[in-house]
Structure formats: C-alpha cells, structure tokens
C-alpha cells in the first residue's frame, strides 16, 4: 500500500518506528483534511511517499503547498505521506472521497501498515454533524476526543489536565432502551470504523473531532488544529494562535472564480 518516494535518504525517510501518525478522516466539512493541510504547510513537511490504493477516487494536481515557481511542479495525488523526523511526526493526507464499499478494506490495510511500520500511535482528525448534537452538547465546547484503551493508559491523565471533553456515547435504541450506549459519529466517515478496529487490534489511537456543518470550514480547521496543538505542541502556541498556521496555496478560490465584470 505505502510506496516510498525515491530520495537520496533511502530507507531512512520511510522509517516510522515510534512516530506519531497524524491523519484526517474524510468527514463533514472536510475539517480534518483542512487541518492536516495546515500542519503540513506550516511545518514545511517533506513528502516521503504515497498510498497506492483502489479505495479512494483518483485525482491529481500540482503541488498544493507550492510557495514559488520552483516547487510548484511536483505532482500530488489523493493519498500522500509526509514526514518530519525532528518531531517524530508522519502525516497522511487524504484528498478525495472513498469509493463505495471500500471503507473497510482501506481501514484494514491502513491499520496493518501502522502495525508493520511500528508507529507508536495514530491521531485522527475528524468532524461530526453539528445538527445531531443533543441539548447538552449544544452548550460548551464543540470539540471532543476519543482514546483507545491502550492510549488511555498513556495520556488519559493529560486529557484531564487539558480539561478536554470525551465524545459522549448515545443510546443504541433511543426511546426504547436508554441504558445500552454506543459510539455514534454521524458525518465522521471512517472515524468510527478506524476507532473500533484500533480498539480491537490494540493500536494506540486518538480521535480529535469538532462538531460542524458544511460551509466555509476554514475557521473550523483552525479551531481543530489549535486543539491538536494543545496536546502535541507542534508549534509554539501564542495569544493569537491562528495567525501562526500557514495557509497553503491550494486553498485559493475555494468558493469559485472571480466574477465577470459584465454581470454589473
């Protein structure tokens, strides 16, 4: 599945032992993916490979993080891996939706790659439909987290200190039986599947998600990436945190082209 780039670094650039894998779920508002774009762009991460997979809709374009003419000509596809060894961080960016019936094969292949590359833990950035919140969730922070039991042991205490809110479970049969609770992440794409598979495979995984709706999700991405930063400390968090994240050049024209002057 993972195809390393040919680079002078050789195998060193695809050695992820002990690294944290950061990845988005393709979810409502694409917030996870936007947040991952901010991380890759701000930290100037190097591409170390891609996923050769039939599970995602194909797409290709030129380098979405281009800053100048010289670096704008590298091709970029739908699932690519970036690395920053100084922070022991490896990032997977997913740029297109899943093909029908391919959620499970992708999750399984991804998690077995996580195990074989010996990543220490996985952090999934995701989102969930804001309109599905219950009365309590409508108040307070729209951010939630989830930890698999293996990661709970390691960082559960830190989450308490940060005063983060764990994602609430909902009744499996609302109105009929309120005692049986299940995890429900509407609009979260593969989030729930990845999380439950990781629980059963003993993988250390955290999910960080935000309740949001479709629209201009750039502010949601900033909120989510700052939430991530509270924990992982990827950049120095200062008072005006949002201004330190670098917006990639591919975010131009998200809402259409310029208007024809003849319209007026």
């Amino acid at each position: 599945m993972f195809v390393p780039c040919e680079r002078g670094g050789g195998s060193a650039s695809s050695d992820f032992k002990g690294f944290t894998l950061l990845m988005p779920a393709v979810s409502v508002g694409n917030v996870g993916q936007l947040a991952v774009d901010l991380v890759i762009s701000t930290l100037g991460m190097t591409k170390v490979g891609y996923f050769y997979t039939d599970c995602l809709v194909p797409m290709v374009g030129n380098n979405p993080y281009a800053t100048a003419e010289e670096n704008s000509m590298e091709l970029s596809i739908n699932a690519e891996v970036y690395s920053l060894p100084s922070k022991k961080l490896v990032v997977l960016q997913i740029r297109s939706p899943f093909i029908k019936n391919k959620y499970r094969p992708f999750c399984q292949t991804l998690l077995s790659w996580v195990k074989s590359s010996k990543c220490a833990r996985v952090v999934v950035l995701s989102s969930s439909h804001a309109y599905q919140r219950d009365d309590e969730q409508l108040l307070g922070t729209p951010l939630r987290y989830l930890l698999t039991p293996d990661l709970e042991k390691a960082v559960g205490g830190l989450m308490q200190e940060l005063k983060w809110k764990e994602m609430e479970k909902v009744a499996a049969y609302p109105g009929i039986n309120e005692t049986e609770k299940v995890l429900h992440i509407p609009g979260g794409g593969i989030t729930k599947m990845l999380f439950t598979e990781s629980c059963s495979k003993g993988i250390q995984m955290a999910v960080l998600l935000k309740f949001c709706s479709e629209g201009d999700n750039i502010p949601d991405a900033f909120v989510l990436v700052n939430y991530l930063n509270e924990w992982l400390q990827l950049i120095k968090s200062e008072v005006n945190a949002s201004s330190q994240w670098k917006i990639p050049s591919s975010w131009r024209l998200l809402f259409g082209n310029g208007l024809p002057p003849a319209l007026f």
Partner: protein, 215 residues
C-alpha cells in the same frame, strides 16, 4: 434543510456518502448481491493481435511498448480520429468491454463515432506505439481496475505515456472570470521523470484532474 414545499431534505456533504451503511455487518445475501454487482462491473480487455494467439488478455507475456497515447472522453477521442488515426497506418489490437450506469461498451471493434467505446490501436510501422481511444465513461470503482488491467499487459521499462483529455472551461479555477478567458486552452501535468519540453503551460494550483485521466 427545508425545500419550498416543506419537505426536509438531507443536504449533501462534501465529505461524501455517509458511513452508516458501511459499518453495518454484511449478511450472506448482501455479500452475494455485492459480488454479483462487482462481477457485472468487471472490465474485460480483449486483445486481437494478428499473431494468431488467443484473444484473452493479461495471461500472456507483457508486450513491449515504447509510447502509449490515451485519449479519454469524446472530444479527445474525436481529435485522434480526425487527426491521427487512419486505417493505413494503424490497426485495431484490442477492445475494452465494460458496463456501468452511464454506458456499456461491446466487444465489437467496428464502432460509430457516437457509440461509447474503448479501443486500442497499434502503429503498423512501429508496433511498440500504442494508442487508446476511450470515449466511454469509466466509473470511479472501475478506474483502478482499468488501469491495472491495461498497464498490466505492458512492459513499463522506458514507456512514455501521454494522456489527452478535456474539461469544461467553467471548471477552471482562476482569479478572473472564465467568461473572458480565451478558450479553448491547453494545460499540462507531468511527472518528474518526463524530461522533454511540454508544449503548453502547466496546470496551476488549485486546479486538479479527476477520473480516469487522474488514475
């Protein structure tokens, strides 16, 4: 979201299809239905080499190919028909048979320009030059299969692939309005292994290419 007549409609999400049905466990009946659908959506490539070998694909040795030109979509296919292909220099060597909700192709090699088809041609003077005209739509779940089956038949050492395709000007993302843009215009994407001169400017961010050309 409420429409004019008061019915509630689920707004489509940019994130794609909702996951709930994917997380449900498949029953044996579901699995059977899914397998039947997958079989119906399988792509078959029938090679019609004149060497006398059988018309089946991929089991044989990969054939030598130095240049592979693929025209995807009706416009690109028509371009090849009008300016490149003729019955003197090119011979038909293969056809793709597929079905999806948008089109069906057959295994016949004599087609009308208005049909949906996917044919392979070989330059008689240099049999390592291959050309593909694909005017049918290859669905997203079939694109990977098409790719693997077609390229699986070829030796990839020293292979140069050129993909011709068209997109509506309205889809082009630019600071100005596309109304004032002189069209048609050419843009290119190239891999870093492609060392020759490209005949037109490269595709700027944030534009992307989708579907079979992207695959």
């Amino acid at each position: 979201m409420a429409t004019f007549f008061g019915e509630v409609v689920v707004a489509p999400s940019r994130a794609g299809v909702d996951d709930e049905e994917e997380t449900r466990e498949e029953t044996p009946e579901d699995r059977e239905i899914r397998r039947e659908l997958e079989k119906k959506r399988e792509i078959d490539i029938l090679w019609t080499w004149k060497s006398g070998s059988s018309a089946e694909s991929s089991a044989d040795q990969p054939f030598a190919c130095s240049k592979f030109i693929v025209a995807i979509g009706r416009n690109a296919a028509a371009f090849l028909s009008s300016f490149i292909l003729d019955s003197v220099c090119w011979e038909v060597v293969g056809v793709v048979k597929l079905w999806n909700e948008w089109c069906r192709t057959s295994s016949t090699t004599s087609v009308l320009p208005t049909d949906s088809f996917c044919l392979f041609y070989r330059l008689i003077a240099d049999p390592t030059v291959l050309l593909c005209q694909c005017s049918c739509y290859v669905a997203e779940d079939q694109q990977f299969q098409w790719l693997e089956k077609v390229f699986g038949c070829m030796q990839k050492e020293g292979l140069q692939v050129t993909i011709l395709s068209t997109c509506p000007v309205a889809d082009y993302k630019t600071q100005e309005s596309t109304l004032t843009l002189p069209s048609p215009f050419l843009k290119a994407l190239k891999t870093k292994e492609f060392k020759e001169q490209v005949c037109c400017p490269l595709l700027e961010q944030p534009n992307i290419v989708r579907d079979l050309p992207a695959a």
